[in-house]
Symmetry: C2
Subunit: 809 residues, 2 copies
């Protein structure tokens, strides 16, 4: 099913054989422990003398905090400490930076601003005692009217949420725009066709299988703080702790053990983390704090919540000329955590997506509401998910208006191979691509024309016979991602760069240990990165161990999110392995009594040019380097190397997705009958892992399109605080995925790879929504907001859609 | 009391101020945990599910092993495994290499060859159960006549100890010689004076406060073996385990936590280690094995046991012309463990010591006896202790013969400053020194002439009055060490070089972590190495953490022994810190908008040459390197560096010691009244730590000279298996040490340092023995063998000395 794609061959011309010595479908090394139940997650960690923390949370979405009486809790025989906002204020720790030009309360001091906000932290001998003692804390609240609907947040007389900030008079966080408003206005003014549509990308949650947690262990003797925590970014956490708490950076060790999924949920620093650290300092003992499911869903980084209005301008014959977007962004009560872009709306910047559009403009306004903070996280490449959804819906609206096939309309407007590197209307430079080829590949796999014929046939029969059978819909989406966060043009966190280090040590027997700064949450780094080293050094994959997730053992870097592991750390790994190979060349020269310049690399060996009988393997070279071989003056006897990779540009993976759905008009139930996904993420190091990533993202897309939403009632009560209410897709809702690929190597990545972790999450919702809307075409439906639950679809069919984000209709 | 010595200033001309930012008397960082009882030693480690091992040992020195019945032990309800030689033979692990061209039994299969040899290993739920079960094992031995006296080992008809080796017919291990026998013979033939003397350097034991032990943890899921052990050389142990057991090197982690003293005792791999590892593999659980004191004294690397005959040739006016030595070396039942020199007699090679001697020759014969193996270890620089003792005793004998003052005789023959670099008669190149200056410094501190006057006065009064008061003795020794094992000319282990790595990571906030391959057993590496980095980078010592003792966290290297930490890893640390400083120069150039070549280093800052207002500190540079600063093309955004240092030569520390003793002729009791030690170890990084090392070594010398010996009875029974029998010196036996220094930097070490860990142990015994013999001069005593216990001295006074190594007289 591969349209092209030289798997197993790097663009550098010396790819090793598939499998054991490099790229290819190598079984995941980490699975040996996972499938045996031998993974080591934060909640598996039990330190001697460990205490347990629990958080008292606000039942109100907005209330003044009048008093917090902890006397009864403190008297509990198993309680060792009760920490309140007042305690933290005494340590100057009541508020913490969000890394998005804002602060967030660690424990509330003045008001509570969302349901579930942290009010007090109890540390006790057991988890049960800590929970019990929460009920002994007496808090006196004075309820205040909440802002629940973002669209009223800027109204005159709206309650002021952030009165903690001197001089603030309203709930506006920022106004941000990109593109040329004036030029875009001119294009719209003389356009032949203009379509406008309001749409919502609802508030959703990453919902990783493992919730967030920490074991904080302050060793007063050494002055060293060790933090075992579920973070996707150990070094970034360490630096934040160092800057916030004033602890020296080398006295903090952040260990991120096995992680049960992250999806962006584990980038930020949450109040519970700071509380556990303070708890360990106060008690002198290790303190574990582990969220329950409800806490995770209610309080840790949600995603999306974008109220968008799109306008598209085109010629009558289907040439898109302009795109204009206005967004009201609901950021909750505090402005995000860990949004390390330089732009308040993140990478919404690339909202023109995959199309050759003359003029574009977008304006995003961020507002505070009485909801939990977040916004960026959830496999979204920093708002590209919202942007990709918008443009793909607008194109289908345009196709419907023009009566053109949506595939045909896309082929007419997609960027063509010869346009790369392509500079977008907002100034971003896409690295490489051939978009029409990829869409055609997807259409071929789908049998697109046959599907349209089947649909036409069924519609005709339905119209004739008034049959009540399922409605068939076909939806397409094409997406372009911008991943590999690193370039200083786009990214900034704490004034630090986004470069990531790699260290490679080759032991005397030729076994290698790679240390990388990024951290896996299930992506298979222990395999993929070992393959890169094996590929570059010509040694077996099993001879390479990958160390990550421990700031004491790995070089500095910003961690795993935004699909950046392969684009940044993968590149660092290739660079450091090539440094080792070059060191090996010098040693091999001494071994073979040849000028190193006269050697050539054949996978696995340095040989005297043209003489394969003369070679030295990496193992032989490693032993010689550490051994009795006399090396030339100034050559050190080792093969180790260190590097830091600062990517020159983002990478731009892309893909074409086609969904085929059946909609039951009687119940509104949507069934995804087929789903075709053709991803182009450049060179694939381990195609099996790439496919696994795509499978997961597609399931995510099914979830977002059809069932996931975090809604609120008029008092700000969270209506999705358990998996009974917040629905996740299972294999029952997913079809058997049909995957394909094209391979357009990134020209600036040393392996030609681009990153694929989020592609399917970005690309799939629009395909499904487009398919459902397509299915409902006979009913005159032009748009419906996610999630397309049976109830929602049924009401859409009835012409009475409801707001999916609010229980207030 | 410093004769010279620019402490706090490296020879490189940019030394920082003493104390906080570099060299000087910085308090030891590690003591914070030691004095609070928070050190973490191997026996403190308790892993979940851990089992305990105990060893059944042979009561016989030499016996045939007829049968080992483990049935009753296996039936013990708490026993999880019983391992015998037969078990190990099935795994091809019954014998292990000693790294000295020999093998050693892990658990006996054919014979036992010394008292205490390992016969079986029991693994049980508790330490007590394991010990109890040992008594349930029924072993049938057939006793054989043992070889106890090395001087009979080569006799015709001596029992053959190593009949496991095909074709072996006697107990000879090796014959080795150095120097020119013929030339030396000619010098002796026409010498004006020739003196000969037999002497013994008795068998002694390092006796570290912490005995040897291991916690072996084989993780069957990951296939990774983690070994927590009391080793001085974690990487060497790892490589041996990899080569012996066939486990891949990157799947073995050797962790050496806090170590309670090593002194060479913790270099080797002992049978218990292999048994614990096999125990963990067999049971699937961690296994701890920890020696008791008796096991440590009886079975782990003893030291010395050199039966020497020295001959010295000189002119009548005291010019030494030749030195000839014959040695019978008792190596026990197996030839040593971990003797990583290329020479069977180690560094005895430099037996001409500190003197300008025209011709020299030595011959060493190694023999097997029915005693525990070992020989090298115990703060001895690989046999230099024996060599230094011999030459210093021979010079005193010559002085007595010539009627010359021993100080005067030494000054006449010591190597002078202009003779360096000095090539010894055996071809070793001493790096630097000015020996007469150092001896004169010691004589000044001692008030040598006044001491001799006092002695003459007391002798005269004693002779007149027949007073029975204490006899006063003055003893001198001058020693030259050869340390910093590394150069390929001298060293070899496993075919590996002896180079040691260092890695330096500078965090964004400017805090640094140094990773080194050597491992401390109390020497203060966490402080000294931090000082080197602080000195080179101009940052506070507290900002540098030192990581060591963990093969997963540190670069490859051969570990700490032979005073090699500062000579090798200290040099590596200076080199890697200078690499970082040079990287910082490039970053500072970008920060200051100057050509890096136009910058100059002032301690702590790179400044534009001549403009101190323009500088950037290391902290500022570190943040900029990781931060938003645009670096020149090809410059990576970090300051980290890696190096491996392969020393071009050994370093040669030296010193002059003077002991003043009082001997009670009635009881034979020796009191060390004063002890003056002037060490020249090149540049002193932390003079306080240097002095601590010297203090410890001097106490060692008191112990060896006056009380320590491992003697045997005629059946090979060990007569010193507890601290009741094997006596160690305490503060009661030690005077208040009087220290001085001269500083002759090593010309090839980047900091000019030489290493001092063993100097005092090497130099001090001869001074004390010389003083005691000097005290006994009125009785006509020319020589007495160590240890000079009261009983021994009393018998020497009576003219009936006894052999100190044997209970057979």
């Amino acid at each position: 099913m591969s349209a092209s794609g030289p798997n197993g061959h790097g663009p550098n011309g010396h790819g090793g054989p598939n499998g054991h010595h490099g790229f290819g479908r190598v079984a995941r090394k980490e699975d040996a422990r996972f499938i045996r139940g031998q993974g080591n997650y934060v909640d598996d960690i039990k330190l001697p003398g460990m205490l347990y923390g629990a958080i008292l949370r606000s039942p109100h979405a907005h209330a003044r905090l009048l008093s917090v009486d902890t006397a009864a809790a403190e008297a509990h025989p198993q309680v060792r400490a009760v920490i309140t906002g007042e305690t933290l204020a005494g340590l100057n720790l009541a508020w913490m930076p969000t890394l998005s030009n804002d602060v967030q309360a660690v424990l509330a001091t003045d008001k509570v601003r969302y349901q579930g906000q942290e009010v007090a932290f109890v540390v006790a001998e057991t988890h049960y005692a800590a929970r019990d003692a929460l009920e002994l804390i007496d808090v006196d609240y004075e309820a205040l009217p909440p802002v629940v609907d973002a669209r009223t947040a800027l109204d005159d007389g709206a309650p002021l949420i952030r009165d903690d900030v001197e001089g603030r008079t309203d709930n506006r966080i920022f106004d941000w725009e990109a593109g040329d408003a004036e030029q875009t206005g001119r294009v719209f003014d003389d356009a032949e066709v203009v379509i406008a549509q309001d749409m919502l990308y609802p508030r959703v949650h990453p919902a990783p299988l493992e919730t967030c947690g920490i074991v904080a262990d302050m060793d007063k003797v050494t002055g060293k703080l060790t933090v075992h925590t579920t973070t996707q970014a150990p070094h970034a956490h360490r630096t934040v702790y160092a800057l916030v708490a004033g602890l020296p950076e080398h006295k903090i060790r952040v260990v991120s053990p096995d992680i049960g999924g992250g999806f962006g949920n584990k980038v930020g620093i949450y109040p519970g983390y700071v509380c556990a650290i303070v708890g360990s300092i106060v008690t002198g003992r290790p303190v574990k704090w582990m969220e329950d499911r409800s806490e995770n869903l209610m309080t840790t980084s949600f995603a999306r919540d974008y109220h968008m209005r799109g306008e598209i301008a085109a010629t009558r014959d289907g040439r898109i000329r302009g795109l204009r977007v206005e967004v009201l962004a609901d950021h909750g009560a505090f402005n995000g955590t860990a949004q390390p872009t330089k732009f308040p709306a993140g990478f919404f910047h690339v909202f023109t997506g995959s199309y050759d559009i003359e003029a574009a403009h977008c304006a995003v306004t961020g507002v505070y509401t009485n909801k939990a903070p977040g916004g960026v996280a959830y496999a979204c490449s920093f708002r590209i998910t919202e942007a990709a959804y918008l443009v793909e819906r607008m194109i289908d609206l345009l196709a419907a208006e023009l009566g053109t096939d949506p595939a045909e309309l896309r082929l007419r407007n997609l960027l063509r191979a010869e346009q790369f590197p392509y500079s977008s209307p907002t100034g971003w430079e896409y690295d490489s691509g051939d978009y029409p080829r990829t869409l055609r590949t997807a259409m071929d796999i789908a049998g697109y024309d046959e599907l349209r014929a089947e649909q036409a046939d069924r519609r005709a029969r339905a119209a004739d016979a008034r049959e009540d059978g399922p409605l068939m819909g076909i939806g397409i989406s094409f997406f372009t991602e911008a991943v590999g966060a690193g370039p200083r043009k786009h990214m900034d966190i704490l004034g630090l760069g986004m470069a990531d280090g790699a260290e490679l040590r080759v032991h005397p027997t030729g076994k290698a240990v790679l240390r990388i700064s990024v951290q896996t949450q299930g992506q298979g780094h222990e395999t993929t990165f070992a393959q890169i080293v094996a590929h570059e050094l010509g040694i077996p994959v099993d001879d390479v161990d990958v160390v990550h997730g421990d700031t004491d053992q790995t070089p500095f870097g910003l961690g795993t999110y935004g699909s950046r592991s392969t684009p940044v750390s993968g590149a660092a790994t290739a660079v450091v392995a090539r440094k080792v190979r070059e060191r090996a060349r010098i040693v091999a020269g001494a071994m073979l009594e040849a000028d190193p310049e006269d050697l050539e690399w054949t996978p696995g060996r340095w040989i005297v040019r043209g003489d394969p009988s003369s070679g030295a393997t990496m193992q032989e070279i490693a032993m010689a380097a550490h051994g009795s071989l006399e090396l030339p003056d100034g050559v050190e006897g080792h093969l180790d190397a260190t590097t830091v990779y600062n990517p020159p540009n983002l990478t731009y993976p892309f893909g074409a997705y086609i969904a085929v759905v059946d909609v039951d008009p009687g119940t509104g139930k949507v069934t995804v009958r087929r789903f075709i996904a053709v991803d182009d993420c450049g060179v694939r190091i381990n195609p099996m892992i790439v496919e696994g990533q795509v499978h997961g993202g597609l399931a995510d897309g099914v979830g977002m399109a059809l069932m996931q939403v975090m809604a609120f009632d008029e008092d700000g009560n969270h209506l999705g605080a358990s998996f009974m209410d917040y629905l996740l897709p299972t294999s029952m809702e997913c079809p058997s995925w049909e995957l394909g690929e094209t391979v357009t190597p990134s020209p600036h990545h040393p392996l030609g790879a681009k990153g694929v972790g989020e592609s399917a999450t970005v690309g799939s919702p629009a395909a499904i929504v487009n398919a459902v809307v397509d299915a409902l075409h006979p009913y005159g439906v032009r748009h419906a907001d996610m999630p397309l639950t049976p109830a929602n679809v049924w009401r859409v069919i009835q012409g009475r859609p409801f707001r999916t984000d609010l229980a207030i209709q």
